[in-house]
Amino acid sequence: MTTAHRSGRNLPLTVRARQGAIRLLRAARKVRGHRPPGPGQSPQAPSGWVVAPPDFVGIGAQKAGTSWWSALIHEHPDVHRAGGQPKELHFFDGYWERPFTDADAERYARYFPRPPGGIAGEWTPGYMIDFWTPELLRRAAPEARILVLLRDPLERYRSGMAHTDDMDRRHLGRQDAMGAFGRGLYAQQLRRVFAAFGREQVLILQYERCRADPQGELARTFRFLGMGDVRLDPDRFDRPVNPTTARKLEVGPELRAALSAAYAPDLAQLATLVPELDLDLWPCTRGDSSAESYH
């Protein structure tokens, strides 16, 4: 985008007025508590801690239980997070519009102080969606282990379209549906991830499997992160973290069939790309909602 374009000097008055209105509305929204993208201040490293690029970065997927899984990882005594740092740093969100420099990569590392021998990381589920992020992450954290938690794309879609009340519901529309649908095209996203990171550097988990066997899948996660297993109190697994409290979209049989059909090509790609996934765990892939139903 050119400077002239951004400043709007060449634009007609009506367009500039409209852009002014948008800026005002955005400012108002910020006041109402929406966090702008990007992380806050990097933390002060406690004395004796070392600062280095993250050992692990969770990159996806939104509405797939990543807050829950991230909290469980942080139960491990070897995993550290400097006080006040969030689960999601959103560090790369703004880099579509900005060049990414070595200084930016160094700045990213400052968010990950840890005592010697400890490990540190973050989990921003949007990284996998933003097409510019995997290769930037590779530059900023070339050795990081990458975590991806996937979930039945249809259920993910319902959560993604959750709304807090009927008013919200009326404001949902085509753009929201398109966005929520696109975030469930996992194979498309993973192709970009695998272009930046080696397969052995990426662990792909399934939410449904984590639910069914949290201890086993957590042990797998710890192994992947190079840590010993730690047995957590089983109560810990059931504690909800950041659940979707808003009402999920009601999906009738026709919409269900349309979603299943629409996800089928990407899921076929996913099965080839990540053969170890058990796609039978995803109702979306079952035959009762196949493409034939509306032929």
């Binding site: 985008m1 374009h5 933003d130 949902l172 498309q188 272009a195 629409a262 990407d266």
Partner: protein, 268 residues
């Protein structure tokens, strides 16, 4: 978006010219935005056998509102109201968003099972750049540079869209055109289009100045930095590669980084 509903309500009430019949569309353009579809739609409608009832827009946007699954057979049949034509004539529309909306292909199949589908594809990086100009001027609260970039990228993932379309329609019912090829040789591509629609292709030779540009972007054009272009080229690479496997006839030499840069025509 509510424009679709408004348009169809109005169109449904439009008096059909005497002797014209309302029927399912013969053709529907389904994609893709910022790829010269307005220009191509005008050329098709310049054919003497193609008709559009007064008040019917190029883009009917009929299916936009069905994102939540709230459709019935009766409602879907109302789609036909936009397609009046005299006996022996053809009628159709071109809504470039149909291709990206996941719920549209199966609905379109129900509403117009025999329709010939048209798809105009353009170098996804150029399409992305052209779309930026549009989105930056849109009055929506949810607009952010990040959301706009992701939306623009998603619209350029043609292989995914085509696979969804081919699930609902047989391949021979879909004509895929390349914008750059249409710019280079409009008459030849128009003959191809007419033949596909079952029209006399000779009409393409009689057209004056098919090069005319319609709906050219009037506001300041957004530009991409070299770095942004490189990032897009890498991110689109696997998608373009999949597309070329789905469409072996695709001429990648016309799409910038994927086959030697070719500068083509003006910018829509």
């Amino acid at each position: 978006m509510t424009t679709g509903r408004k348009a169809i309500d109005r169109d449904g009430a439009t008096a059909v010219p005497a002797g014209w019949q309302v029927r399912v569309p013969d053709f529907v353009g389904v994609g893709t935005a910022r790829s010269g579809t307005t220009w191509w739609d005008e050329l098709i409608h310049a054919h003497p056998d193609v008709h559009r009832a007064p008040g019917v827009p190029k883009e009917v946007h009929f299916f936009d509102r069905f994102w939540d699954g709230s459709w019935t057979d009766a409602e879907i049949e109302r789609y036909h109201a936009s397609f009046a034509r005299p006996a022996g004539g053809l009628a159709g529309e071109w809504t470039p968003g149909y291709m990206v909306d996941f719920w549209v292909p199966p609905l379109l199949r129900r509403a117009a099972p025999e329709a010939r589908l048209l798809l105009l594809l353009r170098d996804p990086i150029e399409r992305f750049r052209s779309g930026l100009t549009l989105t930056e001027n849109r009055l929506t609260l949810s607009w952010t540079p990040r959301a706009a970039a992701n939306g623009g990228f998603q619209r350029g993932c043609y292989a995914d869209q085509l696979e969804r379309l081919w699930q609902a329609f047989p391949r021979e019912q879909v004509l895929v055109l390349q914008y750059e090829r249409c710019v280079l040789d409009p008459r030849a591509e128009l003959r191809r289009t007419f033949t596909f629609l079952g029209l006399d292709p000779a009409a393409a030779d009689g057209l004056t100045a098919p090069e005319r540009r319609i709906n050219a972007t009037r506001v300041t054009k957004a530009a991409l930095s070299e770095e942004q272009r490189d990032r897009l080229a890498r991110a689109f690479a696997p998608e373009v590669e999949r597309l070329s496997r789905l469409l072996p006839e695709l001429d990648l030499s016309l799409w910038g980084p994927y086959g030697g840069r070719v500068v083509v025509g003006g910018e829509p």
